[in-house]
Symmetry: C2
């Protein structure tokens, strides 16, 4: 049961603390799917839920137990009989029992004195042990608790057989230095040294550093969540803790890091909580580069501006044109499409795109290609499909319908189609005209309101995938979400075709 | 020029490293607006840009200099004449000069040897000093550089008059321990101790901890960005560093923390980079609570589950119903609307909402009120405005038009209106019928695609503000973005009216 000395044990609590993220609601079936994904990622243990909270939670936990996963499956319980019984009834063999030990929690939430809390903790651990459970015990709000009292509580639960001791920094209030000290406190509190877990929250952005500080001071297990989900600012994120341990501290773990990005995406989509672009390891920008100095460095040797290879976490790097982009980056991007401008042409392309960027305009790859086409007098890079007209009808008790007029190399084509919504019907109408060549699938569709208000400028970002698996992205801003969506789609279709054309012509 | 010994100097680089976030493009005018906001926040210094990159950047930096802000205004320059001249020409008095000192950067990017790099650094600092500039010098990629060489470079630039030394952890590769060591290296490298800055990136989630470790070891200035924007995973975030210094390390700073949230929102909207809900200090969930145990604690004493009061950073806490919500939280939420169920009624309300949550459904406040109304047999809580029908026409070369049929207390009303887009026209048509009572303004409008694809289930979240400044939020999911938007708006209008009704009746 005790983890190998040199290996950090990863205890994932995405399905418990992560599911407590305000706004997250998932079905039992979705929880089971997430558990399977986490098991594929090779977490050592996963907290499947808090069985006493609802019937749906019981079904989810039971369902996860039945999967026969490699990870140890744990359930949360307060130090009360009903909670522990609920965990036992789910056929769990491993329970995470907690009770608060800080004065503020005992006075205002539990309304109990220290001795009562101590007795209740001992009773609960003893009860669970007598029912054959593996028990991990948490002194909730440990980092704001009286140090002597926390030691006493951990000592007492160890005496009745607790298998693991967890130190939760419940409101993210600890510093790395204090985490190191409290781990030493707990290590020396018990007669026999038990494995210690760190459970850190990110209220001041210190969750990863606090977790690692504890691990460096003798703790052997990290409670973490994918994407750093969890109450308030969330928990220490699995991907950051694992990669920091591996790359900066030379510690071993069992995680298949090349599945991190995929797992993160799956959980973000299932739980409906977005990941910000500037999030370490799994944010969209974590391996994206725009500024000239950075893209120049990356082209010569990626390690100049990347701490690790993106493939290590299941990702690919990308470069983007923009105000800070220099000639090296633009040349590399154009070469991706087989386009090789002269130095003088390149200079003019860079000038033009900086000019657009100065006006606050994001430069899409299609726009860059179009600029290049113009400057290089090559009409091959022009948009093949021009959207001349479209209208859409939708509402309640109406089947969403789109009528589209496209111009393809000088000829007009009109088609109408219905769909589940306006964007879907427009895509179908366009595909009806364009046929196989526009055979794309929308992978991601996002809309951000930039200024707020019903007349706000909205920005649509889409990623489409063509038949051969190439991902093309496009963005469009406008006051009308439907029009912006259709225009972004046209942009993506044109880019897809441009890409095909260039590669097939081998220019 | 040297900061007060006990006060940490905050050097904001949102407009330089933050603007290098891939995907960000802002106009000169927008950069000036951001600089004014940062000055109101009371940053000590702000890096306005990188003048040599484009004409627009020059205009932005000149414009910011002309504002006569309290903050010192700095510009970035490579250790080359053109860059430093560009900074001088913007009328800057303060330049941030950098050159890379790591072997990998020197070999693959600069293609220069150590002595050439050293000479170039010295030449550049000397040149800028001779032009009367305050000079902050950065040894780029310092944390991956040879320690002796970094010391030599810092010593040499100090000898020609550098005023400040910055230690950049360019690819976020340092640990807190190494940051402490390198600060000590640099402190002892120069004859006279110069003020030292920390510039940390968040590639492993350690930017805040690394910054603070450096400050605790003798550095006096933190390079930070709002929302942690910046290259790749971004820089250390201003809000996290400042609040951690204040609350956990008892250090002084000049930031008006009550403006943090507002500033974060402004910059997120202007730069178009979203903040994830589980982001410390400024994420939507940072002071939001859903689980029963947490809401129970919060109601008795907010400090049980909040490390700091939300007002300290310009925010308000919120509670939400959900699977983990317990009776205490639901009772508090209903009391907000003046609704006081009996214990037995409360039990039934909680059961019903958990049942919905188990099905993966997020419970809006309107739904909670509707459940409560049903169980308490009080039709006051029913929706007053029922949407019976609507249709919308939009497209290219068409003025977006909506026709709406509402039923208000049994009577039908029909209206049509045009707008800048389908949602705008629908809101206007609804307001035409509902008049003053629906006098709301959409503050935020967000759409998330949950599963991807043009037939994806999209979730619309809106926040509306009524005439008296109350913020009401509503969410709706559906395959048709327009229909979901209109339904979310109806939901918000009904809640707004419900709130008014309850408060005016004083029930």
């Amino acid at each position: 049961m005790i983890a190998h000395k040199d290996k950090v044990r990863i205890f994932d609590t995405t399905l418990r603390d992560g599911e407590q993220t305000p706004g997250v609601s998932v079905t039992a079936e979705q929880k089971i799917q997430i558990a399977i994904k986490l098991d594929e990622l090779c977490v050592d243990a996963l907290e499947a839920g808090f069985p006493v909270v609802s019937q749906g939670e019981v079904e989810a936990v039971e369902g996860i137990v039945k999967q026969g996963l490699n990870a140890e499956i744990c359930g949360l319980a307060r130090a009360v009989k009903a909670d522990i019984d609920a965990a036992i009834d789910c056929d769990l063999k491993y329970v995470h029992i907690f009770i608060a030990t800080s004065d503020i929690h005992m006075e205002y939430k539990l309304k109990m004195g220290r001795e009562d809390v101590l007795n209740k903790a001992v009773w609960a651990v003893d009860y669970a042990k007598k029912h054959g459970m593996q028990v991990e015990f948490s002194a909730e709000d440990a980092t704001r608790s009286d140090r002597d009292f926390v030691r006493r509580v951990f000592k007492a639960v160890a005496e009745v057989g607790a298998d693991r001791l967890d130190i939760p920094d419940t409101v993210g209030y600890a510093t790395p230095l204090y985490m190191a000290e409290i781990v030493k406190d707990v290590r020396t509190a018990t007669a026999k040294e038990l494995p210690i877990s760190m459970h850190c929250h990110d209220d001041f952005g210190l969750a990863v550093a606090n977790t690692i500080s504890g691990l460096n001071s003798g703790a052997s297990c990290a409670h973490v969540t994918i994407n750093g989900l969890g109450e308030r600012a969330g928990n220490a994120s699995l991907e950051e803790v694992v990669m920091a341990l591996q790359c900066l501290y030379n510690k071993k773990h069992s995680i298949k890091t090349e599945l991190l990005y995929e797992t993160s995406k799956f959980i973000s989509n299932t739980m409906g909580i977005a990941v910000q672009p500037n999030k370490a390891i799994i944010g969209e920008n974590a391996f994206g580069h725009e500024s000239g100095i950075h893209t120049h460095g990356i082209i010569n040797n990626p390690l100049t501006y990347e701490p690790i290879s993106p493939e290590l976490v299941g990702r690919k790097r990308w470069l983007q044109a923009g105000k800070h982009a220099g000639a090296h980056g633009i040349r590399a991007m154009l070469e991706d499409f087989g386009i090789r401008p002269s130095d003088e042409q390149l200079h003019r392309i860079v000038e033009r795109q900086k000019d657009l960027a100065d006006k606050g305009k994001s430069i899409t790859t299609a726009e860059l290609l179009s600029i290049a086409g113009e400057i290089m007098h090559n009409n091959k890079f022009e948009e093949k499909f021009k959207l001349y007209d479209f209208h859409i009808i939708t509402g309640m008790n109406i089947i969403p319908t789109a009528v589209v007029r496209l111009n393809i190399e000088g000829k007009d084509f009109i088609a109408s189609e219905t769909g589940v919504g306006p964007v879907d019907s427009a895509l179908k109408a366009i595909q009806k005209i364009a046929g196989e060549i526009a055979n794309i699938r929308i992978r991601e569709y996002r809309l951000d309101s930039i200024t707020g208000g019903s007349d706000a400028l909205a920005e649509v970002s889409i990623k489409v995938e063509d038949k051969t698996g190439n991902i093309i992205s496009a963005r469009k801003a406008g006051e009308d979400v439907v029009v912006a969506s259709v225009q972004a789609m046209m942009d993506a279709i044109n880019k897809t075709m441009l890409r095909k054309l260039i590669y097939s012509n081998n220019c």
